[in-house]
Amino acid sequence: MTDSSPRPTPSAPLKVVPARYPLRLLGAVFALFILLAIVQSVATNPRWEWAVFRQWFFNPVILEGLGRTLLLTLLGTVFGIIFGTLLALARLSKSYLLNSLAWAYIWLFRSLPLLLVLIVLYNFSYLYDNLSLGIPFTSIEFFKHPTVDLLDQFTVAVIGLSAVQSAYTAEIIRGGIVGVEQGQHEAAAALGLPGYRRTFRIILPQALRAIIPTGFNEVIGLAKGTSIVYVLAMPDLFYTVQVLYNRSQQVIPMLMVATVWYLVITTVLSVLQYYVERYFSRGATRQVAPTPLQRLRLWRTAKP
């Protein structure tokens, strides 16, 4: 571009006119319209029965169900991560047998619907009367117990959720590890760092940057996925709500109780994800952006 106009003299500063975007304004008006329509319909339609919602939202029965949902999510996540990490490392190991075994496990549990896994596990006593641990093809046994006693609803739910979760988590973790630059492995090797140190101090912390967003997807998916334990008649948040509205026929307000609680869980997890991602982006980005809270504080101190 050439500019034929004379150069401005430094004594007369040029005025900056910000660019205007009329379509953006139109979009904002449209968004506001949608928002108002939603608020109006939710607030004024009496069939939402918000009084019932208020009555049940903090009811101990609901909270107990919520607690069970949270516990299942927590245990599924913790076992999923522990077992998933081991599976991912096995998948990356040079041992052919270990590698194939991990592959087969992941193949199996990614193939089966969670529902099916839970029901099969629940009926495990039909296959084996007793669960025992010993050395194959010998009579040596360390432990033996009737299956029915061992696999109650809760145990089945935890085992089933963890088993499936770990298969998915393993692939996410493996993806993160593979994504770390080869030079990092080499630099760690060149410094003579031992294997565990290379994995847990050098490679995994870097892999976590790629793992966390998809990892949180999995956790959030699990939090909602736990509702499937209703097939075991386990009173988690969703099943509790179901039982209650079948009795009272107040279907929508009770479903709203579950909806809002699931929203709360996901919101908390999303905020957590934001801060965890921030932590692991140290050193990776040129400048870490301030959190919304920090921005609010900056804004308030900037005001006179």
């Binding site: 030079g183 003579g192 760092l193 031992p194 140290r282």
Partner: protein, 281 residues
């Protein structure tokens, strides 16, 4: 061999040691590298073809050659980042990657190989600093993990090394916030933190902007005076002329010519060397 580095008190800056350093002294020793009949293939491609080379302790050897001539592969084998197919390498008489008993070579286990690597500092073309750790953490990681120094000593030593490379004020910076030249200088400090007998540089300035090359070469020159054995793969002919005690020219996985810098660079005997120098000079 494992006791050779309980010697953290010394640092670069002292006179070059005698030609053949006694293996277990309490001063920093330079390593003698002996490469015998080394061959290495990647599939059908022969990356190294019967390479033999002796590198005297405390000297600076610059390896030149067109790309794909096996320079980097040779360097990587010295640190056992790459396994060899035939031949062997000795540093101060110890076989790299093997233990000799009678006339048999036993392959070392992972752990022992890691121990061996302590004696060999390696500087990469792409720096490979750990981006999630501060500069200081990068430097103190290895000496602490190997139990050579406690945390306090390691930090003290790290600051000494940062002074050597002129970056004391960057101790708490993140690697990615530094320029390429600064990152490479930190990488050199990190390698030096293990007090190696041998320092290997794999094209240390190839990833740098031209105006940053000088600062890295200056640090390497400083090291050359300190008495550590240096092996540098580079394309900087000027650097070779200034610093190298010996220049090795490689083509197609084989050593074509070796000699002093003036010998190889000014009066090359081989036509292949001459053609290469015509292109780069």
């Amino acid at each position: 061999m494992s006791e050779a580095f309980d010697l953290y008190v010394t640092r670069p800056g002292q006179a070059a040691p005698e030609a053949v350093a006694p293996p277990r002294t309490r001063t920093q020793t330079a390593g003698r590298i002996e490469i015998s009949n080394l061959s290495k293939s990647f599939g059908l491609h022969k990356a190294l073809n019967d390479v033999s080379l002796t590198i005297e302790p405390g000297t600076v050897t610059v390896i030149l050659g067109p790309s794909g001539s096996g320079k980097s592969t040779l360097l990587r084998t010295i640190n056992h980042l790459e396994r060899v197919d035939e031949g062997f390498i000795q540093i101060d008489g110890d076989y790299v990657g093997y233990r000799r008993k009678g006339d048999k070579l036993y392959e070392l286990k992972e752990k022992a190989i890691l121990k061996q690597r302590i004696h060999c500092g390696y500087v990469f073309q792409n720096f490979n600093l750990f981006p999630h750790m501060t500069v200081l953490d990068n430097i103190i990681e290895a000496p602490i993990v190997h139990g050579l120094l406690n945390r306090k000593q390691a930090i003290e030593r790290a600051y000494e090394l940062l002074d050597t490379v002129g970056l004391r004020e960057k101790a708490n910076a993140w690697p990615r916030h530094l320029s390429g030249g600064q990152q490479q200088r930190i990488a050199i400090a990190r390698a030096l933190a293990l007090n190696p007998k041998v320092m290997l540089f794999d094209e240390p300035t190839s990833a740098l902007d031209p105006e940053l090359v000088g600062e890295v070469l200056d640090v390497i020159k400083k090291l050359a005076e300190s008495g550590v054995t240096l092996v540098v793969v580079t394309h900087e002919i000027g650097f070779a002329r200034q610093v190298a005690d010996r220049v090795v020219f490689m083509v197609d996985g084989a050593v074509v010519e070796t000699g002093s810098a003036s010998q190889v660079l000014d009066n090359p005997r081989h036509q292949r060397t001459r053609r290469f120098l015509e292109k780069v000079l």
